[in-house]
Symmetry: C2
Amino acid sequence: MPSTDTTETARERILDTAESLFAQRGFDGVTVRQITSAARCNLAAVNYHFGNKKSLYLEVFRSRWVPRAKRLQAHFRANLADQASMRPDAAAVARSLAHTFLAGPMTDEERQRHHQLMSREMGRPTEAFQMVAEDVIRPFFKELAELLRPALPKTVDQEGLSLNLLSILALVLYFNFAREAVTRITGRKYDKAFKDRLVDHIVTFVRNGLGCERMQGEEVT
Amino acid sequence: MPSTDTTETARERILDTAESLFAQRGFDGVTVRQITSAARCNLAAVNYHFGNKKSLYLEVFRSRWVPRAKRLQAHFRANLADQASMRPDAAAVARSLAHTFLAGPMTDEERQRHHQLMSREMGRPTEAFQMVAEDVIRPFFKELAELLRPALPKTVDQEGLSLNLLSILALVLYFNFAREAVTRITGRKYDKAFKDRLVDHIVTFVRNGLGCERMQGEEVT
DNA sequence: GTCTATAGCAGGATAGAC
DNA sequence: GTCTATCCTGCTATAGAC
């Protein structure tokens, strides 16, 4: 649940609640009235601080999504360095990614919010996707590609590399985005045990999917 | 593009255009006015034929999504029977699934519509998901599980089986749902060549992901 | 910066003629 | 079954007091 501390400024409370509501219901599914009343401030506050509803949506990405993505990237790098000191193999990269995105440093709710916002943008890109793609995703994608490149067979071309990375992201996004559906099918809540299970599952799936040999046994964080 | 033939009744035209628009923009992103004007009929027609907007949304699933899903399932079974006459292995199941869902018997636009509707429901289930899950998805899921069960190591439990199936669906849904993002990253349009490439990629990814041995070489349809 | 009040309009839904 | 005309609610956005 977004922080609705009274010590926060109205502007910050609006950003937090707006992010949460946009993630849950999408831009069109949320009204400015719902945002301001959940943020315990006046209806006019959105227009005062952000100009209009759409600019608020963009500002959510700029000031909430992007910094969080950068923190996630930092966590990924630290986690990877813990596992594999020099040349990480594909399995290590996959585990760090899955762990960071599924069970990483943030609260469950924050993580789900993060991935739901991105999933919505992937299904129907807006200006926000443009911005985030240039500034955050593309550089990180390149970084990941360079990490994976030496771990893959030489027969894999640039496009194959991209498809493999997209597939990893597909799994991670899906298991965060479709939580309710996954819960209905498996009967499992997203508690620590299940998230660990999901990370293990994704790592195994991805490691083999990339066509690498199995590893002997890995532990992480 | 939905059929807007004048020979169709207004009711049918509304269902077709509504499905297309709901898939593109979601329930809240579409107005009844947009639907009726794109279907070239009067504003009042939605309420006359369906009662209200929400019932129209449900009827789209009942009379469009469900029958298409059943046709897809039939195509999957036929395709699988072509490949593997008796006991299909995991790779054959994966290939038939990927082919059916990514390059199957329907138009590109129809397939994308189908998966976007479902992706939206997975992210935020409504009554429609409830209905579709009971009547269509769960039985097919069971059918797939029984097909895959004998092809997997005995160490894989029921939950592992479910996770593997969910992962396959994650890949298929993702590459249909996030077409624009995939196109931006890979630079490829969804033409026949790229779809074939995607099917091959998913089959390889999944086959290995399921922890089965490699196969010697498969051809299909 | 924050509020009240309201303009101005688009939304879903309906009544009733044809 | 299909249309026009309209109701009424709820939306975004703004003006202006405090």
